[in-house]
Amino acid sequence: MNKSPLQRLLAAIHTLEDSLLVIVLAVMVVLAATDILSRTFFGGGVLWISPALRVMVLWLGLLGGMVATRSREHISIDLVNRLAPAKVAQMLSIITNAFAAFICALVAWHANAYVEMAQEFGDIAFGDIPAWPLQAIIPFSFGIMALRFTIQTLQALFNTLTGRLPDSEHKQEADA
């Protein structure tokens, strides 16, 4: 199947996200191990490693959340999809996705205001590192999630209007 430019752009964005996620994890494993080994064998750890690792946990969590939104792998109570007919499930997914988009957008908006404030006040994360660039992942990831939930809402709406059922198209949609 030929890919449209839009699909290629999406694929590139996904690869970028995945790579960032994998790099942060790899750096984390290496730094965490370095910290322990240097402490065990050379008597002292590196001061900035442990606060840096903690920030990476947040980054991994939020980046992972972004990627999980792509394939709809968030933890949810899955009663409807198990028990309700496919049509009902699809209609409900319009509502739930729209709600998720709204809440994520709300968090992103206020988190952005907060990061601007932190920048203005010169909030320090650790050492001499300012906090705001590290905190910027919060509005960014919630913004992306809001965007994804919006797209999924529109897809579900489109499917409902055209009478398509989620199962037949599910694989392609899951990559939105």
Partner: protein, 429 residues
Amino acid sequence: MSILVPLILLLLALSGTPLFVVIAASAIWGFYQTDVDLMVMAVEIWRIAEMPVLIAIPLFTFAGYLLGESKAPQRLVRITDAFLGWMPGGLAIVALVTCALFTAFTGASGVTIVALGALLVPALQKSGYPERFNLGLVTTSGSLGLLFAPSLPLILYGVVAQQMSLDVPVSIDDLFIAGLLPGALMLVALSLYSGWVSRNAERDHQPFDKAEAWAALKDVRWEMPLPFLVLGGIYGGWFAVSEAAAITALYVFVVSVLIRREIPFGQLFGVMRDSMKLVGAILLILAVSMASTNYMIDAGVPEQIFGFIQQHVSDGFTFLLLLTVFLLILGMMLDIFSAIVIMIPIILPIALEYGIHPIHLGILFLANMQLGYFTPPVGMNLFIASFRFNKPVMELYRATLPFFFILLVTVLIITFWPALSLWLLGIES
């Protein structure tokens, strides 16, 4: 009005809205009501970056995923079979023990059923166990091992409890020790039942084979140090939990990617990404629940609920009984991570008022949740097993029923006999 918003949120949750969205929405609503600037959401989410113990979560999850993708499950089955296979019900016990060990590392996200079920069900079948028994056994085992270190739910309970400012500190290492006997009780109870069921399965009794045992031992030489490294390190007080996690992740990576080469570099990328999706799902829920918990503390919600319960429940025994029923229902509906971050901030202060030790509460909470994984009609593992083994869910209801009642008895013992959890810690219950 006050009941309408929570009701709508509950309906949205039941309709499949991601739980982190529901939790975030409840926090936002609460803060909005009390005129707190919603920038507070960012402040609370940022607190994730201030908790050293959380470093363990991505690292253990990554290690667990690597193990699952390698041939470690096969080797684990082989070695337990070589050493336990000669006993009556030996193979069933093999299944139980391997699943418990595997779940402790992978955190009962359904991975156990998918990864080990494929190996164990055919093996059990061949040895002449009844089919229904096999299905029930594997489905049940999918959540066995939650109480053993370094299971993620135990870590998460410790993390959440530490946010509560208790007079009695809840350390994750204490939780790891507290889970040992209750976890063993569940294992022993299911093993006894398996031995009884298979008393007539003749082909099951194979003699102990020294050569095979030695070969199996050599086969696991690289994995062998792992439990000693992790559990010995943590229980022996050499490592903090996060340090053990770092060493585990590095070690498992070196063994399965560099030495055994069972995971090619091309596949490694996918394993890393998939493991971090789970981490993202968990940490998102934890992050937004920092905010909802903060709102509840701000508004004094636990005190209000306690005041209400206190009017109707006078003693700890009745409280625990009601709690068990409540947790069984909750465990059916909610995954274990969400259940911890949503319910513990409410339940823990109340349980303390009834004189329940926070460590005991953690163990009984997780034991109940473990049961919830396969409580009909909607326990998650029932559906995973139904999908994995291509059987109707109704058949799995029947298959898991005897296991359910056995574990229910052990859960009651764990709940009403605090000493089982606290004895190893030297805490008077």
